[in-house]
Symmetry: none
Subunit: 215 residues, 4 copies
Amino acid sequence: MSKNDELIAELMNGSEKMTDRQKNIVVAAVEMFAEKGYSGTSTKEIAQKAGVAEGTIFRHYKTKKDLLLAIVTPTMIKLLAPVIIKDLNKVLNKEFENFEDFIREMVANRAEFLNKNGPTVRVLIQEIPFHPELKEQFIKHIGEEVYARYLQIVKHYQDKGEIIEMEPASVVRFTASVLLGYFAAKHVISPAGWNDELELNNTITMLKAALDPKK
Amino acid sequence: MSKNDELIAELMNGSEKMTDRQKNIVVAAVEMFAEKGYSGTSTKEIAQKAGVAEGTIFRHYKTKKDLLLAIVTPTMIKLLAPVIIKDLNKVLNKEFENFEDFIREMVANRAEFLNKNGPTVRVLIQEIPFHPELKEQFIKHIGEEVYARYLQIVKHYQDKGEIIEMEPASVVRFTASVLLGYFAAKHVISPAGWNDELELNNTITMLKAALDPKK
Amino acid sequence: MSKNDELIAELMNGSEKMTDRQKNIVVAAVEMFAEKGYSGTSTKEIAQKAGVAEGTIFRHYKTKKDLLLAIVTPTMIKLLAPVIIKDLNKVLNKEFENFEDFIREMVANRAEFLNKNGPTVRVLIQEIPFHPELKEQFIKHIGEEVYARYLQIVKHYQDKGEIIEMEPASVVRFTASVLLGYFAAKHVISPAGWNDELELNNTITMLKAALDPKK
Amino acid sequence: MSKNDELIAELMNGSEKMTDRQKNIVVAAVEMFAEKGYSGTSTKEIAQKAGVAEGTIFRHYKTKKDLLLAIVTPTMIKLLAPVIIKDLNKVLNKEFENFEDFIREMVANRAEFLNKNGPTVRVLIQEIPFHPELKEQFIKHIGEEVYARYLQIVKHYQDKGEIIEMEPASVVRFTASVLLGYFAAKHVISPAGWNDELELNNTITMLKAALDPKK
DNA sequence: GATGAATGAGCCTTCATTCAT
DNA sequence: AATGAATGAAGGCTCATTCAT
């Protein structure tokens, strides 16, 4: 479990020992990267928005790209690590009697995270296509760790007869699509016109029906 | 129906009267924009990849941004126009006896388009967040035209008792998520390891179950 | 007198055997050069204003600079040649009984020329500082030919006791300043607010007084 | 008199707090603009001549045009402000008993300025035709301020019976032509061949005769 | 540690000129 | 003779990064 320890360590140290200046820089960078993209944002703009001198950015981050990675890498880990650590254990320990409970808990948990880190996640998603390092990290963490855990979880509930008998990979993908679609719509449509409780319930209703093992 | 006529006109003239050089430029630009993003690609790179002088790009497109729009706007229209024009009519004319037929036809149709225009669509998706004009166009075409048609289609099948009684908006969103997820996975996972027929069937099976009206 | 013959030849052939297109080019170029300067005007602009293709300009004038010289050199000659040829002879042949008649005739003559060739003269004056060839031509024609003739004329009237005894060079310069100043004001102040007859008379009155050989 | 105070302030602060680098840039720019014109000079040339990197120019002047204006605007003001402030007051306070004293003082004063700022004034004169902002500034400062003062001065001496009764505007124009012509010749003909004392005396002699009220 | 002036490579674009049609 | 597409050098300007203060 030393791998998880690493992750936890990485999670914790993150933003704690930053100076005020450094926090300003990161906040400004996230905002600008989200709006205009990494390549479309100049370090000058970031410095101005952060209220620091341009040189100060480079005292903390050797490179503009370092700044991006400093923003995006911990977010990626924070976004996904809990899954690895907690969810699986809870499932296996039968803390979630049924699949629906598990989904609801996970959605709630992740929704909260998005609320706090919306722009940073946006940067992560927007920049992944252009930065091989990011893609690599992403594949390593998600494609190998997270995906494998989810497969296990699905198999667990299949064994319990709670969900449909079907290639677990397809089930995972289907479920992920549905939830991602839910989050995407929620964040794109924004406050007005989005009845979250209704949409979440509808989504879960359909998802359950989709995965129901018809007698 | 003059609105549709316009769209059809726009669809047809598109790439026909381009010179060879111009085609090279567009192809090179799509490739580079897909890989490194619009801001991350220099016009010099595009010119080199296209085998033309840098100045030649600007004879055909006044601006680098014009080049992006020339690539992305017709793609957006081509990607979505068929929906507006054909799908709805076919549904209303009962060419599709049931919802599954409709979904299968649409997926096949759109899959073919993606096969031919994969990189261009990738550029479109990647650049939308950074270009307000694109976002605007997208909202105008999708948010207003396409979305409205799909709502109608869903209501149509609900009236026929073919799919679940539930807010049509939720149904549309759920269906779109599932299909987008299917396409995304297909294009990310790439040839090896993707059994398309199996995945498509699984996806549709689950989708049907999700929308099945019988308790 | 073969030198004068050359000049006359140069004067005559000028604009006669030009095609319509060529005339358009020259007219457009003069207009643009006058407004934005030689360096500030692009051959594209000239071509557009002239209604010809960019390449056409270079069929007639090997270089952009050739076009400038083709405009400006004959103007320089036309502007000054008459002085050399006619004025001096008339003075020596006593066609002008007194200095005033000579000045009035010269002003009238040159005013007419400026009326027809205002913009071209403007280009000439504006561009001389930036083109050594032009400066050279100017010095050769004015500084040596014209200036020498005027010295002679001044001496002639001094000998006749019509104008003040003073270094002829100073007299020429003074007279030139006054007349240039008259023309400059007339063309800068433009129609409204310029009473030409009054100003000319005042100018000549003062000039006469300045050069009056006080008994 | 707050308007004058402004002008004086503008005069004084000007070039004092410039860094060495900035001075080099300005000096190099003046030299090049004088020789090849604003449009004909590249920022690269200026940087090379100034011994700085091209980017350095743009740290101090946002635009190439800003650099031109930074050179030319204060010169225009310095060239003309003294007239406004001092000359008129001195005349009205009878510091100059007669018109000749006034002219001699003004010529001496302005000659000194030209000695120090020759090239800058050359740039000013050469570029005015191509830059509407400059033309505007020039008209505002000369056409309205300076011209009005000179009219007053001429009227003053006319009232004293020192100069001819004639439209003051004509007198001002005549005088200005003569003096401008004197300065122009002095600076064009250059050292050799120009006997300044003689020419100035001749010029003033003729000017006095021109404006002499006694028939 | 923080600054911001300085750098020069690199950016998008325009230019005068050429040449196949 | 006239065109206008093509060129690639050069233009003004911005960029990420360095470093003396």
